[in-house]
Subunit: 284 residues, 2 copies
């Protein structure tokens, strides 16, 4: 995990090209035109770096980016609501939502989310994101796994938030790959051949695999993905628009900080959590 | 705004009463029984404090809590997805969603959220939350305003996230009250008789009015609301479950930190933003 927070604080201003879509808070095509006007020297990318990215089949910040968020019954809204809010605001980025049968899905707590496309109707995507949930029974089923495996194999970037990494790992695509996961489940990754890393953001194979920790880690994850694929300035713009200037009132966001009795409460609800081995429906 | 992060670090462990609902990561009735067993001395509340709260018509952590999230076309998903994720996990707390006509609403970026109840079918609620959006045309209409005003007047707690405070203020209920808002819109509050406060969390009338700043501020807002209404231990439990241990990769979450050229980008998309006076459909 690279801390890039102090990088590129002197980036040059970009020239605006006008708005590309209906979305009022959308970045529009600013970066695209900026990259063209600046010969690729903006956003921390030098021209040789862009050429190198192209030669490796990677996306440059001005290539169209197609993102697919996989939805399923039992999923957790905030796992993908953070990334979704960020991805929708990036330039030249199209965000789609799909589930096995399409239509509405019923998330954790009975929250209804729709209208999703059918996974089988999606030919391919540049980036697949599998969010986590409190019940992974649905996405662990063979039909779901087959669709996720197919789309992940052809995607440039295979990503997850929270215990969505268990769903990805179960397809086999994370074999030998380093991955993040919600702290309560992270060590289950090794049962599916992946390498558990207890960080908030984890990258492997030079960004082919990117993953976030539990639930709210999806916001930090998505900002890093945004910077990597659309340039740092686009990520900073989005962070400012969503006022992501966090100020948690308590020190309780991770077992390393939380009070012992609070950790014990989670362990009672989710036996094995403090060992990273909590049980969850759908996971062996 | 009170920083309570160092308070009650010596709270006693609670006794678990088992799970109250189907939700795997839900706190259940732990606090309820804990409060009963401990005679109200847990969670930082002394017995006299609880008695005082009761005499003022306030909620004690073991009273049932009814929360209503107001939805509308053009709303922003993450404004309420953060609070929703937290509120659903609190003990003795029921979270409902309602819109003017009920059924599905179409949020910003075409995201569909459902199934909401009809506002007119809700007799009253303990806490009303109005999230923000990129288009406030719908909730600024007289029929929406009448329902929101009616429910806010009888609610114990009147709350908002992001520019949802403009919607609340337009009903007149925030006359002379201090309120937060997304940084780009905060000074518009005074046009509706409220007092703009450029903080991430703002409280007035001893918690009758509570509001969060822009989009992601909803998470910090909800943890503070959780601590106030359900006790600090319940808030800490929830923070740990949603792994809220933020690590933004850039210093760009607020105009005070963001680079000038990034602020200028937002000002181009939303003229007046850096003065807190950005225009938005539906707002005069």
């Amino acid at each position: 995990m690279t801390d890039t927070s102090e990088n590129n604080r002197t980036g040059k201003p970009l020239t605006e090209a006008g708005r590309s879509r209906r979305d009022i808070l959308k970045f529009g095509s600013i970066v695209t035109l900026g990259a063209v006007l600046g010969g690729g020297a903006l956003l921390g990318h030098t021209a040789p770096a862009l050429a190198q990215a192209a030669s490796k089949g990677e996306l440059a910040p001005n290539d169209p980016l197609d993102i697919l968020i996989v939805n399923y019954d039992g999923g957790t809204l905030l796992d993908f609501a953070g990334p979704s809010e960020i991805f929708h605001r990036l330039p030249n980025t199209n965000v789609r939502y799909a589930s096995l049968n399409g239509g509405n899905v019923t998330l954790e707590f009975g929250v209804v989310y729709g209208k999703t496309e059918r996974l089988a109707d999606i030919e391919r995507t540049d980036l697949i994101l599998v969010p986590g949930g409190s019940d992974l029974t649905a996405p662990m089923r063979p039909e779901y796994q087959a669709q996720i495996r197919r789309l992940a194999q052809s995607a440039k970037h295979v990503t997850s938030v929270c215990n969505g990494s268990l769903v990805l790992a179960a397809t086999g695509i994370l074999n030998g790959k380093r991955s993040a996961c919600h702290w309560a489940f992270v060590n289950k990754l090794s049962e599916y051949g992946a390498i558990p890393v207890p960080d908030r953001f984890v990258e492997d194979d030079n960004g082919r695999f990117m993953s976030g920790g539990g639930v709210t880690a999806g916001i930090d994850f998505a900002l890093r993905v945004a910077a990597k694929l659309r340039g740092q300035q686009a990520a900073e713009f989005t962070q400012l628009v969503i006022e992501y200037d966090p100020a948690p009132p308590f020190h309780s966001g991770h077992p390393r900080d939380a009070r012992q009795e609070v950790i014990a409460m989670v362990d009672k609800e989710l036996p094995g959590a403090s060992k990273g081995l909590a049980r969850i429906p759908g996971v062996r």
